[in-house]
Assembly symmetry: C2
Homo-oligomer: 332 residues x 2
């Protein structure tokens, strides 16, 4: 294993030190392992908190800032944050207007966020939770009951975050977050496995000419293992699964995320983006907005995920609203 | 070789199709292989054109837009753009106020940009060229006479681009670009080799526990091949070389780029960033601004480069000025 680390045990705390050093607009709590907007809690604002295992950067710490999350609580690599940590994040950002937990649907995350929500509620913090479960590849997996949460997390955090920034109350923000999740679908393809620092070797074996179709963001198995194909064929497989699961309704336009899993060069993501655009054009699905790059990664895994949000006009307006985070920044 | 491509021959044109589809604010000329600001030529504005081999994305196409480049001309993978292509970019953006060529110091690039400059001059286009040569690792290499151009390209394009956006003339923009380059230093470390689509296998062999200290962005050899070390030790090596070559002068502050070479997870880059910040603090070098992420890559190479610009107040002001490109965006 070759990684730019000090020790496998200190990966998260060392990375948090880097975020603290390079982002003075964020406040890193090294003891609780939280990343918080420096100006939190914001009076009158519904707060958004997300978290999950580390190894998916920039998710979630890279999405903390005006117009998106108020705090992130990263767990150890591929490990849910603990309830105390989630609770610390909620306490740090609640202004009395309540907190929305954005939780990717993995068993450990769901359980720990639920425990934290129960305690926070007992303390008088209003909490609502939205589960993100956009991955159409498989139902139930080694990590999940139901669908896994992946790229749509970016859509949910950006769009609901913008509504919260405009002053909407917790129920309205939660309701919109659920609508965004319901309108979003994802599908991923891995070319290589990823290596966690603790394990020191790839999480699964993938022969030199094979790929995993429908892989999860921790390397969970997908639908099938197949021979490598062209970018065009892979885009057809991914978008075929996505559009078969939910086709656009009248008035909707697509927000598209062509997401690298961590080890894939940007030039390959743009090749995939060209194929995605061609397929959507053929299906007469207009692309209103898009992101191409590494947003929800799986350490050093080579591969791509495609996410699509069938956005209505409110979602499109909120997507375009100002955001200022380490990983997403426009309009301010 | 496992890559998200259609054919090795069509990598650049397929990726350009993706940029065209996803960035309507840019104009892609598929025949000439140029990426141009959609609003170019801008009346009264000094234009900036850069280019070089592909495989370093987001450099340079990802830096086209208000506040940075007017056009980019990407060559084939690790291959200089041809003179006609550079000339097409210059013609597309010149408003009569002249064009600054930002050229990384590689033999092929220098020659082809010079040929293009000669023809452009004959056509009445004012051209000045700034050579970027910031890599302190080696003098002369398999690709270069003198120092290689790497991460400082981002500093030069951003800072000179901001001055051009404010209406400065060609000589002033060129003079500043030269000052930024002179104030910048870089050093890179590779953990793995990269694989070009045409070759289909890694460009060099690196045993499982060895790294290349001072590597170039095409995998050119560096200073030495050594056993893997901790992030802390690697940061010491890189910054030691950088600061030994040029220490800060009174009134200067650092702009720091902790740059992934394409295959390294962001969490590792933040670990390196923490070490870089600690070392600079010990040397009493204040960090005024920073970037952490993949900006000047080498396809799928795992590794990191550190770049440092000893910036004066004018450079810092221009660094902070609004920019709106696919890869750098703030303030607008």
């Amino acid at each position: 294993m070759k990684k730019l680390i000090n020790t496998p045990e200190s990966v998260l705390s060392d990375a948090l030190a880097g975020i603290a050093a390079m982002h003075p607009e964020l406040r890193v709590d090294a003891a609780n392992k939280t990343i918080v907007r420096a100006d939190a809690p914001r009076p009158g604002k519904t707060a958004l908190v997300s978290g999950g295992g580390s190894g998916h950067e920039p998710l979630h710490g890279g999405f903390v800032g005006p117009g998106m999350l108020d705090a992130a609580c990263p767990g150890e690599i591929f490990t849910s944050p603990v309830p105390d940590q989630i609770l610390a994040a909620a306490r740090a950002v609640d202004s009395g207007n309540g907190v929305l937990f954005v939780v990717k649907n993995y068993t450990g995350d769901v359980m720990n966020f639920q425990l934290a929500a129960d305690i926070a509620t007992d303390e008088g913090i209003g909490v609502r939770t939205v589960l993100v479960n956009d991955d159409v590849a498989v139902r139930d997996s080694t990590w999940t009951a139901g669908r896994r949460g992946t790229g749509a997390t970016v859509f949910v955090e950006k769009i609901a975050g913008a509504l919260a920034e405009r002053g909407a109350d917790l129920d309205k923000v939660a309701e919109l977050a659920e609508r965004v999740n319901a309108a979003s679908r994802s599908f991923a393809i891995a070319l290589t496995a990823c290596t966690t620092p603790a394990a020191g070797r790839p999480g699964f074996e993938l022969p030199g000419d094979e790929i995993e179709i429908g892989v999860g963001i921790h390397g969970e198995p997908g639908r099938s293992r197949e021979k490598l194909r062209s970018a065009r064929e892979l885009a057809e497989i991914a978008l075929g699964a996505i559009l078969a699961d939910r086709s656009p309704e009248p008035g909707e336009q697509a927000i598209v995320l062509v997401n690298g899993l961590g080890g894939t060069p940007l030039i390959e993501l743009y090749i995939m983006a060209a194929e995605v655009a061609a397929i959507l054009s053929r299906h007469e699905v207009p692309i209103a907005a898009n992101l191409v790059g590494n947003y929800v990664t799986s350490l050093d895994m080579a591969g791509v995920s495609i996410s699509l949000c069938h956005a209505d006009t409110e979602m499109l307006d909120l997507w375009a609203a100002p955001v200022a985070t380490p990983a997403l920044r426009w309009g301010c």
